[in-house]
Symmetry: C2
Subunit: 255 residues, 2 copies
């Protein structure tokens, strides 16, 4: 007889696996020890080593243990099994490729969305620029009054106002970019500031006692989303939707 009877740790080392793996293969009936000593210790011979190496080869190719067992126990042709397997691998790879494309598109949309928001949100927030929509939704009167209020401010007053809008704008962008949900505390605090800001403009329903403030705020949110200046057809849509959702939730709970 040759040296042909190794204890579990030795074939494990020979094959580069752990003894746990061998016990597992034994328990699932994939590879039984060639002999079990009186004390219960497992021992393996050369035939077992050959089988083990075949198992590992197939495992590296990505086959599952049942599939490997089917091949080694001759319940299935190796070539056929591998052909089936390779088509499965291809499908997986295609799925991953699709996911990668989606994720990158999302990342690009997030970045671009941020950029677009940075460029346009100032205009977007300054609803006094939505002459037509404002007149259509809340009447000529509303627009005229907020417009005359704006014109009545001096240069410093207008600058201060724009600064306030810009700050609000920056904070919205940061919140959106951080991935915070619309119902997060941060977003709701921004919504509160946004409404506070709206109330400061005379002539808008937000500053009129008894007006439908809730409907006004919600409608404004929708307007942001619908407006192309928010980049409704690209990544910016997500940013506008974020603002709208935050405003809607705030209106629902606090107005």
């Amino acid at each position: 007889m040759e040296v042909n009877d190794w204890p579990i740790h030795e074939i494990a080392a020979l094959a580069g696996v752990t003894s746990r793996t061998l016990r597992h293969y034994d328990s699932v009936g994939l590879l039984a020890p060639s002999r079990t000593a009186a004390n219960g210790y497992r021992h393996y011979d050369r035939a077992a080593l050959v089988r083990l190496q075949r198992i590992l080869l197939l495992r590296e190719l990505g086959l599952g243990l049942p599939a490997i067992a089917a091949i080694l126990d001759h319940q299935e042709s190796a070539a056929a099994a591998l052909a089936t397997h390779v088509s499965w691998l291809r499908a997986e790879q295609a799925r991953l490729a699709g996911q990668i494309a989606s994720v990158e598109k999302t990342i690009a949309a997030l970045n671009e969305g941020g950029a677009i928001m940075a460029e346009t949100m100032f205009d977007g927030f300054d609803h006094t620029h939505y002459k037509d929509e404002v007149e259509q939704r809340w009447g000529k009167d509303a627009y005229a009054r907020s417009d005359s209020w704006w014109r009545g401010l001096d240069a410093a007053g207008q600058a201060a106002w724009k600064g306030r809008v810009a700050a609000l704008n920056r904070d919205w962008i940061a919140a959106f970019d951080s991935g915070a949900p619309a119902d997060s505390a941060a977003a709701q605090e921004l919504a509160r500031r946004h409404v506070e800001w709206l109330r400061a403009v005379p002539g808008t329903p937000a500053s009129e006692p008894g007006a439908d403030v809730r409907g006004y705020v919600a409608g404004l949110g929708e307007m942001y989303v619908d407006d192309p200046r928010f980049g409704a057809n690209n990544g910016g849509a997500a940013g506008a939707a974020f603002v709208r959702d935050a405003l809607a939730l705030y209106a629902e709970h606090h107005l």
Copy 2:
């Protein structure tokens, strides 16, 4: 209030998931129902629906539930998380590509190995062609005797012999191609026939009483593997190894 309070099956339908999924998200703390009725029934509002849809969007991108929770609960930036994720996806894709290449190489080797075996195994099995090796391992005498035996056969005798070799050859190829292991009953039966065939050649140790038949058969197997005519450097190597292993196992148990 609007229609803003759906039972579990309804938001499930709205979002295209099962109620089980929603219960799961609740249990792992990813999405809690907005309200739990006195009877324990879960109810969800629009904010929950928004959050759910965000969850599903990220899920489709392949993120795990903990990662999604981290993003939505603002513990991590969406952009950063997605960037990390995409690199992970790429790594996976590369791994799959490698596996596909390996599997295809294996399939090709199996096929080509079969072809190579079909072309060369005849020569390989006909050990009388291994003049030098045979003389070196078992002496000039052995080779000379088997050679003279071969030359002494008439045309019909040689044809019959070649047919027998070819049949054995075909069966080996079929067995190998079927993926049967070297210790399978089929392979062992072939090994028996192979040895029987060897014994029929006068002058070889297999046909000499008292010779080391076991060592002879094992050595022959190694010779098959080492010989380039078996395509030792390509897919044929697997076929030769199969034959060698089967012979070695047979010799060990029956000779």
